[in-house]
């Protein structure tokens, strides 16, 4: 009973952080001409969901990686690769597949490329025995170069016409679609993590690699899959990025890896591995989203915005670490 109570409280803690930020946003919201709070308008609230979706999808993959006691710094560059590959296939390839087929091909090509990047990350980490930080730092640099090389440093525009590229941009930037993709992927990841053998292995290896080794868990294979999934999810974010911004920009996603890590960490995932949840990461993503929206609706100076964000990230993580009583701390 007591344990259950504590667990529920721990769950509530990350939601509590979100609730506090939400209340602040309501409180400080500018008002429209009719006196309504702009923050609470349905359009604005769904904007937040949609804007959070890109980082959110990346953060799902990042959560798997961090739970596995790893880190993936290459997700921002991978997002740029997905965006440029999508745009290239759409604008430069000719197919007989019709618009839907052509779009499918572009998305597939982008996702395959990004999953491959993830698989390379994983393979390099397990077979060369180099730390994830260093391997993914290298791919972060290398994949950025690849994306720029593919496009000759230019943006590939998706246009405003009726052709396949414009159709892709129009459909792919639909708010409902973007939010539904994020929600679906979150549910899928949560189920994988909590209900499958693979999910248990991801956490077990991250919690105690030596014990996992002695227990005979397939550490190498699991790890490669974790990074592949992370690459794939960054690819999804990249495809959405391309559609929403009407372009494949090789410089997209710079420093997004930090936002993805922040979302996971604010959501209670421990950088030491083994502890955390997808639900927490979704809450973490929303905390960042609501926070950004609140500051920008109020036209807060952009440098002040960065400083406030820093304070709130620390506060959000700190709130989650508070234990109910000294007794609880001794027990755990």
């Amino acid at each position: 009973m007591a344990i259950d109570g504590r667990r529920i409280f721990a769950r509530l803690q990350s939601v509590l952080g979100l609730a506090v930020i939400f209340l602040l946003a309501v409180l400080f919201s500018p008002k429209s001409g009719a006196g309504d709070r702009i923050f609470l308008e349905a359009g604005n609230l769904t904007d937040i969901l949609r804007q959070a979706a890109e980082i959110g999808v990346m953060a799902l993959g990042m959560t798997l990686v961090i739970l596995n006691a790893g880190i993936d710094l290459s997700v921002g560059s991978t997002l740029a690769l997905a965006a440029t590959v999508t745009a290239m296939v759409l604008t430069r390839w000719k197919t007989d597949l019709g618009q839907a087929g052509h779009i499918g091909l572009a998305v597939l090509a982008a996702l395959a490329a990004c999953a491959a990047v993830g698989a390379i990350n994983g393979a390099a980490i397990v077979s060369l025995r180099i730390q994830p930080f260093i391997v993914t730092l290298a791919t972060m640099i290398g994949i950025r170069g690849l994306a720029r090389r593919l496009t000759d440093n230019t943006n590939i525009d998706l246009g405003f016409g009726q052709d396949v590229a414009s159709t892709f941009a129009k459909t792919g930037s639909d708010k409902t679609l973007v939010v539904v993709i994020f929600a679906t992927l979150a549910v899928v990841c949560a189920v994988i993590l909590a209900r499958t053998v693979f999910g248990r292995r991801v956490k077990a290896i991250g919690d105690n690699e030596r014990a996992a080794l002695y227990a005979g868990l397939p550490i190498r294979r699991t790890r490669i899959w974790v990074y592949t999934l992370c690459g794939l999810l960054s690819g999804v974010a990249g495809v959405l990025h391309a559609a929403q911004n009407h372009q494949g920009n090789p410089n997209a996603g710079i420093s997004y890896e930090l936002d993805a890590i922040a979302a996971a960490v604010i959501g209670g995932t421990s950088l030491m591995g083994g502890s955390g949840s997808i639900g927490g990461t979704v809450v973490g993503t929303l905390i960042l989203g609501v926070l950004t929206n609140m500051l920008r609706l109020n036209n807060v100076d952009s440098n002040t915005e960065l400083m406030l964000k820093a304070v709130i990230i620390i506060a959000a993580v700190w709130i989650q670490q508070i234990r109910i009583s000294p007794l609880a701390r001794r027990k755990t």
Partner: protein
């Protein structure tokens, strides 16, 4: 077969390199080969990619110029190191697009001291350590954009009044400061013209879109969006389109690059009402450079100021032809 061809061409280009390193005559034609080095501050920007493309075209057209472009990757110390290496190679002409003003002043002085004709592009350095400086005037562009916006507002309301949203480039960059300053000098003459929201979107279309979504929520009335570059203005258009407000707003950008992703195409598509051409400058630099290389008595002016040009629907197609490579 393929291998042979590549190997042969590799040998040929190596031979050409050696020949030009000797600074001497090209054995095949007996004509002198010129070595032109371009120190670019950052290849990974569409504007600079267009510069590189244009310069490569101009040089290859002349037939006797070997061009080498080095990429400073937006890192001043890297660019300084690259210029130091270039000085040792003794190019016949050095063109520099400085990443930052002050730190590059000294190394360009070294190039001049080594007797290398040096042309400085766009950004002025602190001391005049160059043979010629090809300047683009962002403040003047800001003023032109400001005047265009005022004229549009007069046309809309019969008098100069209205609400403007400004999307700024990366803070502290010269282009951002002057494109802002020039436009505001014009706006400030009209008390009923208000800049109701200024947001920083770091030159990016994605950030322009993100910021604009929130601005549209907070500002029920917006007449004009002024983006310090075209992609940010296009991003704002995308946001407005989503809320069905794109028809009520006039979108204005700066840069006017050619090609399908450039701002001129966006004017043709009716997304932007206008953009202002920010000169690529390398064509002017090579015009001066070619005379320096070929006319022994030629002394260039110390400074050439390139003028901008407004691009609207009226001249977009023509400019697109001219500026698409």
């Amino acid at each position: 077969m393929n291998h042979q061809v590549t190997r042969r061409s590799a040998v040929a280009s190596l031979a050409a390199m050696l020949a030009s390193c000797g600074g001497g005559a090209n054995k095949d034609t007996g004509k002198k080969q010129f070595f032109v080095a371009f120190s670019q501050c950052n290849n990974a920007e569409p504007y600079r990619a267009a510069q590189n493309e244009l310069l490569t075209r101009i040089c290859s057209r002349s037939g006797d110029i070997r061009l080498s472009i080095s990429d400073g990757q937006q890192d001043t110390s890297k660019q300084i190191a690259q210029i130091e290496t270039l000085i040792l190679q003794k190019p016949d002409l050095l063109i520099v697009a400085p990443n930052e003003r002050a730190p590059l002043t000294a190394v360009m002085g070294k190039a001049m001291a080594a007797g290398i004709p040096t042309i400085c592009l766009e950004r002025d350095i602190v001391e005049p350590n160059y043979s010629a400086y090809v300047a683009c005037d962002n403040y003047a562009i800001g003023k032109m954009a400001g005047q265009f916006i005022v004229d549009q507002l007069k046309a809309r309301y019969g008098k100069p009044r209205g609400k403007i949203v400004e999307l700024k480039g990366l803070l502290g960059v010269e282009a951002q400061i002057n494109r802002h300053g020039g436009a505001h000098e014009v706006f400030e003459q009209y008390p009923d013209i208000k800049v109701v929201h200024e947001a920083v979107a770091d030159w990016l279309q994605s950030k322009g879109r993100e910021r604009m979504l929130e601005i549209l929520r907070a500002q029920p009335e917006i007449d004009v969006v002024y983006g310090h570059n075209d992609p940010m203005a296009v991003g704002a258009y995308l946001a407005a389109q989503e809320l069905g407000r794109e028809k009520q707003i006039i979108f204005v950008g700066v840069d006017g690059l050619g090609g399908p992703a450039g701002g001129i195409k966006k004017v043709m598509d009716g997304v932007l009402a206008a953009t202002f051409y920010y000169p690529l400058a390398v064509d002017k630099a090579m015009e001066i450079g070619n005379r320096m290389l070929r006319e022994p008595g030629f002394k260039p002016d110390k400074k050439y100021v390139l003028s901008s040009e407004i691009i609207t629907k009226a001249n977009a197609a023509e400019m697109y032809q001219k500026l698409t490579f």
